[in-house]
């Protein structure tokens, strides 16, 4: 569409549902001024009502006549409060434009053509009209509480849930046992775990370093037949021992990269250094 939108949705929150706002705004003295628009749900609704007065069948209405009727109506209701009637006025302006476009020679038409716009308006009116009729027919049906009635005092259906509890003897005595165990006075003791202390690791590593000048991997210092737990402890204490020896200047450490084997070697001059000291 080339910027020519039909102004149906211009009514803003302020105006809300046109007629409600108008009715609310009405005070006794001013009533006559804008009662004119009372009862319409916006400009499309007013158009629909005017169209209905033309002919019964909305497919046969004359758009030009409708435009004239609308503009005439708005002109007669000229004393409307402007802010409330804004959307009606916007519609009037658009319809005036549509009318002039419809009357112009066809060659000068832009796209969409005024005929297309007129057809669109007509289809919208048909749709709104159809829904209005449907609503009326719906409301006229036999409605509960108005035309048909339900049982006044139904007894109601109830489903009572009854719980059947289940347990067994073993669970019972086990529970008792655990209560007794839980509440019995407790004695805590710390288990004696197999560890290699830093002191003994230091002794062991420096003794082994004294044997050779070659690089050795740190895992060579671990006791070969130890349990996995003891091995972990030995690895930790041997590592700290190696650091300690390096700090004292008695050994050097090397590692190719992260997680590569950590190697350790006695410093050649360490014995001498000690002598000099």
């Amino acid at each position: 569409m080339s910027g020519i939108e039909q102004p149906f949705m211009l009514a803003d929150a302020g105006a809300g549902e046109g007629d409600a706002a108008l009715v609310q705004g009405a005070k006794p003295g001013e009533e006559a001024l804008y009662l004119e628009l009372d009862g319409w749900e916006g400009p499309l609704d007013l158009l629909l009502d005017l169209a209905r007065r033309q002919k019964v069948d909305l497919r046969q209405i004359s758009i030009l006549a409708l435009v004239d009727q609308y503009l005439g109506y708005i002109a007669r209701a000229g004393a409307l409060r402007l802010e409330l009637a804004a959307d009606y006025l916007v519609m009037a302006a658009w319809l005036a434009y549509l009318k002039s476009a419809l009357l112009l020679p066809k060659e000068e038409q832009e796209d969409p053509s005024p005929e297309e716009l007129a057809l669109r308006l007509q289809l919208r009116l048909q749709r709104l009209g159809a829904m209005r009729e449907a609503a009326a027919r719906l409301m006229a049906r036999d409605r509960i509480g108005r035309d048909v009635f339900l049982r006044g005092a139904p007894e109601g259906l109830r489903t009572d849930r009854k719980t059947v509890w289940r347990s067994d003897l073993f669970t019972l005595i086990q529970a008792y046992g655990q209560v007794k165990a839980r509440t019995a006075p407790r004695i805590y003791h710390v288990a004696n775990r197999p560890v290699i202390t830093l002191d003994s690791a230091l002794e062991r590593v420096s003794a082994m370093l004294g044997v050779t000048l070659e690089w050795m991997e740190i895992r060579d210092f671990l006791p070969p037949h130890a349990s996995p737990e003891l091995k972990r402890s030995a690895l930790a204490s041997s590592f700290v021992a190696a650091l300690e020896l390096a700090k004292r200047g008695r050994a050097e450490l090397a590692q190719e990269g992260a997680f590569a084997p950590l190697r350790i070697r006695r410093l050649k001059n360490s014995a001498q250094a000690r002598v000099e000291a």
């Binding site: 749900e41 006549a65 297309e116 449907a134 108005r146």
Partner: protein
């Protein structure tokens, strides 16, 4: 008493006592009956029995309940109206939702040509006739609305197919989106010569 008659009595008592309409499945489950077909047959028989009486057995959206015969409305109507009076806006919005569901608020507004105040949808939802029914998978993912089983109950509709005039409306394309209708109209009414164009001109020039 035959098994069928006994089942009819049972269903009659259950539906009389029930506080809300019950589906065949709910009835079968409540009564511990394994065969819903049996229930359906008995309901049909029961419905026939009540046809001429002051109380009718009706099915609404797959759920059954008893209600008074519509022709007795004038005798039963209470002094104070029990039915909430809907504003014109609410009535229209309800019809648009019922005939177009599921439908978004923007779509409702485009049909009505006015904004719908928040209160209007609230009133319909509070009445229990309309409820949100998911979102449309288009930009903005707008909530769409649809009618509820209570809507069918209240307006005495066996199903949405029962909506007054819905077949004609559908056949005439009045429930299709406006753009589709425009396209269809343009296709069938070629601009230049031809009957259609003549009519259109006539209308417009009137």
């Amino acid at each position: 008493m035959s098994a069928q008659a006994s089942l009819e009595r049972t269903l009659e008592a259950t539906l009389f006592a029930a506080e809300e309409p019950l589906s065949v499945d709910a009835l079968a489950a409540h009564l511990g009956l394994p065969d819903p077909a049996e229930v359906r047959a008995a309901l049909a028989a029961l419905q026939r029995h009540y046809t001429a009486r002051g109380v009718h057995l009706v099915e609404r959206g797959g759920r059954w309940h008893f209600q008074t015969a519509p022709d007795l409305a004038h005798l039963l109507r209470r002094e104070k109206e029990q039915v909430r009076r809907l504003s014109r806006a609410a009535t229209e919005v309800l019809a648009i939702i019922a005939y177009h569901e599921p439908v978004s608020r923007a779509e409702i507004e485009s049909i009505r040509g006015v904004q719908t105040s928040a209160g209007t949808l609230d009133v319909l939802m509070e009445a229990g006739w309309v409820s949100p029914a998911g979102r449309r998978e288009v930009p903005g993912r707008p909530v769409v609305y649809a009618t509820t089983p209570e809507f069918l109950d209240h307006f005495g509709l066996a199903s949405r197919r029962d909506l007054p005039g819905i077949d004609e409306l559908r056949a005439s394309g009045l429930l299709d989106p406006l753009d589709e209708a425009m396209e269809a109209a343009m296709r069938f009414e070629p601009d230049e010569d031809g009957d259609g164009a003549g009519e259109a001109d006539e209308n417009l020039a009137d």
